[in-house]
């Protein structure tokens, strides 16, 4: 496959993945362009891989995680502002935007896990491979992100006991 054919087939999903990761179309466009530039320079090697698209997606996530611009320095707020519930359609849209804003304030690795899990639809093992970390780290990032977003807020207080090491996987 030529690089041009690969790009034509994969740019739509790469760009949408970049939007899901970054929450910003302009930044997503820059991310994809930079990654394609890098992929173009290495295309002979990438094209020989079993799954070039997985490799380029990993490059995209790495690139996103390495972009810590000033707008990426926004520290997540400890107590997020909770809007009152309004049972109408406008409120549904407002809630969605509020959630998007809260996701954008998460640490980048947590945002990446959410995007790869809930937008791209990868398994935790695939996310771990994409992000270059362990499955346990993926789950830790996801659970912390969901807790911050008040989707999985409950801690399991009943398990506040020492861990039995023999159960280690």
């Amino acid at each position: 496959m030529t690089f041009e054919a690969f790009a034509k087939a994969r740019v739509p999903l790469l760009l949408r993945t970049a939007v899901a990761l970054s929450g910003d179309l302009g930044l997503a466009e820059d991310l994809v362009q930079d990654v394609l530039l890098k992929a173009h320079q290495r295309w002979d090697r990438i094209n020989g891989l079993d799954a070039p698209e997985s490799y380029v997606r990993r490059m995209l996530v790495n690139e996103f995680l390495s972009w810590r611009r000033k707008w990426g320095r926004i520290v997540p707020q400890d107590d997020l502002n909770v809007v009152d519930q309004h049972p109408d359609h406008a409120a549904v849209h407002a809630d969605r935007q509020l959630l998007r804003d809260e996701i954008d304030r998460l640490p980048k690795r947590q945002r990446a896990v959410l995007a790869l899990r809930y937008y791209v639809g990868l398994t935790d093992a695939e996310i771990a491979e994409t992000m270059g970390c362990g499955v346990s780290s993926v789950r830790a990032y996801a659970s912390r992100a969901l807790a911050t977003l008040r989707i999985e807020p409950a801690l399991r207080a009943e398990y506040l006991v020492p861990v039995e090491e023999g159960r280690s996987a």
């Binding site: 054919a5 790009a7 034509k8 740019v11 739509p12 760009l15 949408r16 939007v19 179309l25 302009g26 997503a28 466009e29 820059d30 362009q33 394609l36 530039l37 891989l49 490799y55 790495n62 995680l65 390495s66 972009w67 000033k70 707008w71 320095r73 520290v75 400890d78 519930q85 809630d95 969605r96 959630l99 640490p107 690795r109 959410l114 809930y118 937008y119 970390c133 346990s136 780290s137 789950r139 659970s143 912390r144 969901l146 807790a147 911050t148 008040r150 989707i151 409950a154 801690l155 399991r156 398990y159 506040l160 006991v161 020492p162 861990v163 039995e164 090491e165 159960r167 280690s168 996987a169």
Partner: protein, 306 residues
Amino acid sequence: MNRTEDDVRAVYVDPPGIDEAERRILASIGAELGPITERRRAPRRAWIAVAASAAAVVAVVTATVVVTHQGAPARPAAPAPIVPGPYRHVVIHTKQPDAVNSDMVDEVWTSADGHRWGTQTDQRRTHYWYGKDDLTSTRYTWSPGFLRSLPTDPQKLRQFLVAHADSSNYAADGHFVDPGGYVFGTVESFWKDEGYQYLSPAALAAIVHMLEATPRIETHQVRDPKGRSAVRLDWPIYDGTRHSLLFDPKTFAYLGSAYVGSGTSDQTVVEVDETTGIVPAKVAEEARKANRAAGTDYPWRPPKTG
């Protein structure tokens, strides 16, 4: 507000203008789908020209980074208290061969009350930023309040971390799944999220001893990329893929981390960890400008400069 995972999925919708962005990208690499009717943003650059000059740019900027840090003072022999002086100054060098910004240097000055001024230098330029940490927050495992509250006894530390694990770490029958992977991943996230400046020396020692006693974690005596003697703690994943954390064997100061995988790797090295009385005037000024331009709600506070 009752939120579900479906609400998260619903967030990821195409923004207006994505089709035009798609066409611009394809046009820039010669695979244009059709006529471009609008250019919302300026063309980024000439594709071929950038490709041809990339190596030269990398060489120049990398050389600049090396020169910048040649004169930097070495890490102090004894571990510093959390933020003992006016500022804790840390320089972290990250290499990610598979990322476009494959060589990056972060430099941060942190005050005792959580104000942070920083720079990030990549192949293109230096970015300046300013932020403020809420030192009382214990909401997240990487927040300053949580990190400052870590027990200094290894066994109690393990219990503390497990106690703060959420339900996703438990199987249906109630047993804790993969405790070794959980504690390693949690500790690793202290650094990935740049929170380690809030760890006390005693907590660092407890972390190392806790990890050393964790099944499947391997301990090696090595030298880090700067040639310093180090304890390397490995969490093996599969087929030789591993995550590593490096610590000073005497002070347990954090020296860096590494990931070695199939076809990808990254390496983080703490090059400087010291206390200082000032923040460079240029950093303070540029961070102030960046803070203002970003429109953040951080209350700007000027540091002592020099």
